[in-house]
Symmetry: C2
């Protein structure tokens, strides 16, 4: 199949204002460029699974063909998520075939279009939706249907990170327990990006949040920041070494729903807060420790334990629903109702960003690569 | 309120055939016995919570008043269930007020009726339904509505034990996962009374069962007995010390539903067998060890962990449904389709029965006291 470009590439870079192009001219351009190619690209690849700081390297990728339904996107920003790390390590159930480019979500600007692309324009900001492998590179070519246009008023780091973590938070608040205004949730790992999202999305719906954080220097400062996001209660694990954690609740009702992204003792603390018949949803295991539950928690307290994995949720026929949720979340960002901590770091400093994401430099905010 | 008896007690013992009594005569009798009393009774009581073999004793209970809606039942048989032990120990969430009579289910024969009782007759076999405290005694007086008449063709030890364990098995097969013919379940503690019931009730519905038992002398014999009940596969825990337990299944499908009454490693084995998206229901903790679950079991295998407690299930408005299930189960017994191992032991040997129920004399079948 012959591929083609609909607009001249230098215009598509978006560095100069793009002008309306008469339809007949677009057609001519298409015919003229029968085998359009992407620009050469730089990418973070790994040839084998293993320690991310040992197996990843930045390589030059030669130009690739842009087919008629393809869109070539110049990436603007992409985060390093824990699941990206796990994919490189090879411990994720879906193992990318190596060699593979790292990264799973991000945002870019359309650089060039295949001849049959009609719904997107050069200069649009788009995100891969559903997200997919290989966002840690400067140019990406994928079919039109795999890109979702987003509002350019959104700060690019939010467009880059909206899919994996905020969507997880949104779905977990919806899919397990029917919550109504005034109800409460409890979570550990409250400073994680999902944790920050849960606090705010719950707050928007009038749902109270009880938040558990690690004991470490600066925990009072962390409490202040989470409270500013809308947290109703924040406790360090040490503060919860009491006989009855519920006595600490002071007006916040017993939660019917809990979230665990840590495991070990931090998961047990979530279970302690849950009310009779409550549900705990596990979506991460930062402490690399299992969840341990007493028999009586199941029988007499009637607790239910579940898990959530966004990638599985999205694998069903939910593309449209996902995009609506993304638009909703980015709308909240634009309205100033939704924010989370990130550190923007240039792509050429990838090694530093990776070290921070790996926790080698202590606790750090989400690392977002800027291309 | 004046209490009364409708028939002469010596007739009510059922030792001689009861004759039709003209209505006017019944009325006369009622008036004549304005304060009917039960016979004196013997009961196993405990004055404080603690070790059952230390805090229980057999006492003489004086006759008590039989009010107009009451039914006086001469108990025939009552089992010693693990939950009876837990109630005496005081580790059950519903703590009977002490002093209390032990036992929770059983069967008896109606000995005398209050004057307003219409639906039951002297000589009928009845079980307390819903079950309630205090079946370890020779005579019990309770309101008519608390007794459910059962067919006298049923072996009395089945009528005595049908409520707690078989009902648990039946509900757990119904309430968590919609199973269809050809599906499979997995369970540990397969030799327990509930375990034996699950095997047979699953088999009747065309559901395959994978059963896990302890390693101990005679396990081959146990396998044979469970297979005779309808078990499709029986493994000792040691046999399951393999990399992939599912390779042992040989034609039995991966189970969608698992049952755990042990905890610890035996619970982990149930989880290993479960298919993607499967559910494990905990209803006991014989090993007194918690359930430990990896993070990935929740996230990637999408397992759900739940609990079941019959007493809570019955506490809702389910009296009628319970009795229908009891009739169904006792019907299966009469048809020769449903059986389980029990040891009948005279009430005067209560101490021995208790020692056996406490596991002091090794593995023993369910102990059923015969009065």
């Amino acid at each position: 199949m012959a591929s083609s470009l609909r607009v001249v590439l230098s215009i598509a870079r978006g560095r100069i204002p793009s002008l309306p192009v008469p339809p007949h001219y677009r057609t001519v351009t298409v015919r003229a460029l029968s085998s359009g190619l992407s620009p050469p690209s730089k990418a973070v690849v790994y040839d084998q699974h293993g320690q991310p700081d040992q197996v990843t390297r930045v390589i030059d990728v030669p130009p690739i063909e842009i087919k008629e339904n393809d869109v070539c996107v110049k990436m603007l920003a992409a985060p390093i998520n824990p699941s990206d790390i796990n994919r490189i390590e090879g411990v994720y159930p879906v193992r990318p075939l190596v060699p593979a480019v790292g990264g799973y979500e991000g945002v870019g600007e359309i650089y060039a279009l295949g001849s049959s692309v009609r719904k997107l324009s050069v200069g649009d900001w788009v995100i891969p939706s559903p997200p997919s492998f290989g966002t840690w590179q400067t140019y990406i070519v994928k079919e039109e249907g795999l890109w979702h246009k987003v509002d350019k008023d959104v700060p690019l780091e939010y467009a880059a990170t909206v899919t994996v973590n905020p969507l997880t938070a949104l779905r977990m608040l919806e899919d397990f327990v029917k919550l109504k205004e005034g109800d409460a949730i409890v979570q550990n790992g409250a400073t994680s990006l999902v944790g920050q999202c849960i606090i705010q999305l719950a707050h928007i719906r009038g749902i109270r949040s009880i938040n558990i954080i690690r004991d470490r220097a600066g925990s009072e400062d962390v409490k202040g920041r989470l409270t500013q996001l809308g947290a109703d209660a924040v406790f360090t694990e040490k503060q919860l070494e009491v006989k009855n954690v519920k006595e600490l609740l002071a007006g916040v009702p017993e939660p019917a729903l809990g979230f665990n992204c840590v495991g070990g003792n931090a998961a047990s603390l979530v279970l302690k807060f849950l009310r009779q018949g409550g549900t705990m949803v596990t979506y991460g295991g930062m402490a690399k420790k299992p969840v341990t539950v007493s028999t009586s928690s199941f029988i007499f307290k009637d607790l239910a334990l579940r898990g959530f994995w966004l990638q599985k949720w999205m694998s069903s026929e939910r593309a449209k629903e996902c995009r609506e949720m993304i638009d909703y979340l980015l709308g909240l960002v634009c309205d100033g109702k939704f924010r989370y901590e990130m550190e923007l770091i240039p792509f050429h400093d990838f090694d530093t960003a990776l070290d921070k994401a790996l926790g080698k430099l202590g606790s750090q905010p989400k690392q977002v690569l800027i291309f």
